[in-house]
Amino acid sequence: MLGQRLIGGLAKWLTVSGARPSRRHVLGTGAAAALLLLGTPVALTGCSPWSSGREGPDQLEAPARRAETDAAQASAVAQMAAGMPNRTGAELAAAAKSLAADRTAHANALRAELHRVHTGTASTTRAPAPPPAAPPAAAPDLANAQSALTEAMHSARDEAAALVMTLPGYRAALLASIAACCATHAALLA
């Protein structure tokens, strides 16, 4: 086992390096970008690092809302599953409870970052309380509730992972941890 080396699957670096633009190309692009920056100092003063120069809600707003919704949904599932007598119910209740706790932590961290950046602006207003989670089904259905949570974790991971590619360092790292955490919950629920 120790002597075995698997190079498939994870060899992303190789493909990346193969497709990498030449140094000259990069330098050329950089110079062009620098000229562009020099030429438009006024236009840039209004830019914020998180908005890439366009108006609109902060990009952390959507993942913050999603985290709040997930937390509410997981809490509802935990409550419902805890009422079930069987072992599956107890296990799902525990999983949903820890999911709710982690997603609440995500929401708080994202809200804190939003607050830090937007202090004093109109957009600091906290989003209205998350909509109450719709009960997963009329009849408590553990399997449905479980797959709904799993699905939610996949969506949350994908949303956060997409933002990791474009946001500045600190925010990208925060979203990366959130994406990874959602992946761990999806793995546990599956």
């Binding site: 698997l6 995500h106 590619m165």
Partner: protein, 181 residues
Amino acid sequence: MTPFPLRRPHPDMETYRGKGVTSDPDMSPYRERGDGERGVPVGALQAALAAEHAAVWAYGLAGAFISGTLAGQLGKAETVHMARRDATERALIDAGARPVQPEPGYLTPEPVTNAASALRLAITAETDAAAAWRSVIARSPADPDVRESALDALTTAAVQATRWRAAADADPATVPFPGAP
């Protein structure tokens, strides 16, 4: 029971002990000339490679104490880190850097003497790897070239750490911010 003589003990053992099996999570010693050239965060990647070396070493040690179905999972996790180590070495070479070498041995946070302590070592190795890869994301430019691989590595480490915690009956088995300091 360590296969190699231990080396590089930190002068401050108490500080060191809290930091898992890699030598220094923030890894500033690995910063190199050319860091950031072509957008590749060489210093952070070297730190991640160091964490992968440590993980491979840790799994080699843990494997001696774990049997049954967990041994199969352990072998797979070890293979993942070997592949990641090799890919990271190639990325560093591509960036014109000389990849860091593994240490002959590492200090473990506690003596590894049975399955339970071996499992905790595996959790530590995954936690360290997650932290190193998160740092790569924080220090790389906002484009997918480096970040996609780093996010994949962070996620894989976080999921594996969670699986080991679940196997160790830890409650909760998850952490809200894998890789965060």
